[in-house]
Symmetry: C2
Subunit: 163 residues, 2 copies
């Protein structure tokens, strides 16, 4: 199996963990020398922390594991295109390569709204590869938001009933 | 005294703490209702964590304090123009207003290289005010890097002496 697909499947496992915790299902793994050295999923709601995106948490774990703020030779796999915060963290950590699944028209900063990783303006530049297992990565997000909307509709009906 | 100057002085106190720990001296405070609710300084080297910039740490603390990932009605003061990661975190946390001291030609994303906060592409837009106490905020950084260079020169001399 293609290495990118293999590691994106690992990132999807993390996204599923987020789904089960009622978090927007985004998962991330960081790979060095062909091995996963850190894994994390979005925990913004549970922690009530605006910085607790999957990539941020994963980069923190990888830094701790390697004992360095420089993730030289590391590849990052994430199920959704990184937002500006996470793209910036990828640059700051000097990640060598970033691979994402679904494109994000609302906040994607690895080609969609901006190309922060590849623009050459910062002290570290890298290439992002998008669309790996795009359908699976996108489907879990669609399912999550469909469930949220259904729950909201049910709540609205109940509230109407109360009135 | 002007409120922006008053709070930037608080951010500078944090930058000085970073200086004393041999960290790039950047400090940040978050203000709500005229009161400082969180303060932090850069700790990238000490923690060996690429995400441990002053703003990121300060936003995490403010979220914890308010019990919410949304920092509605909050103002952020930082001594150096935020990088893409920190500008993204400011957007994600829905900070109402951002004020910075020195401009950053290498990574500044609040007007210098990009204007991520004000561009209107994301789900939250805010205005950044730059140049508040610019000289003081810039001076502490210049002193830090001058000391670093001097120490490096001395090390080079010693190493030559060894040869």
């Amino acid at each position: 199996m293609d290495a990118d697909v293999r590691f994106m499947k690992e990132a999807l496992k993390e996204a599923r963990k987020a789904f089960l915790k009622d978090e927007v299902p985004v998962g991330c793994v960081i790979v060095k020398g062909g091995k996963v050295i850190a894994r994390a999923h979005n925990q913004r709601e549970g922690r009530q922390d605006a910085t607790a995106h999957a990539e941020l948490l994963c980069i923190k774990k990888a830094c701790k594991k390697l004992g360095s703020f420089r993730l030289n030779g590391c590849e990052l796999y994430v199920t959704l295109e990184p937002c500006p915060m996470c793209a910036g963290a990828i640059i700051n950590a000097r990640v060598e390569r970033a691979v994402f699944g679904a494109y994000d028209p609302k906040a994607g900063c690895c080609g969609t709204l901006y190309d922060l990783l590849g623009c050459g303006k910062f002290n570290h530049t890298l290439k992002a590869v998008g669309g790996v297992m795009e359908e699976e990565c996108s489907d879990i997000l669609k399912r999550f938001f469909a469930e949220k909307r259904r729950a909201q509709r049910e709540l609205n009906c109940l509230t109407k009933g109360d009135g």
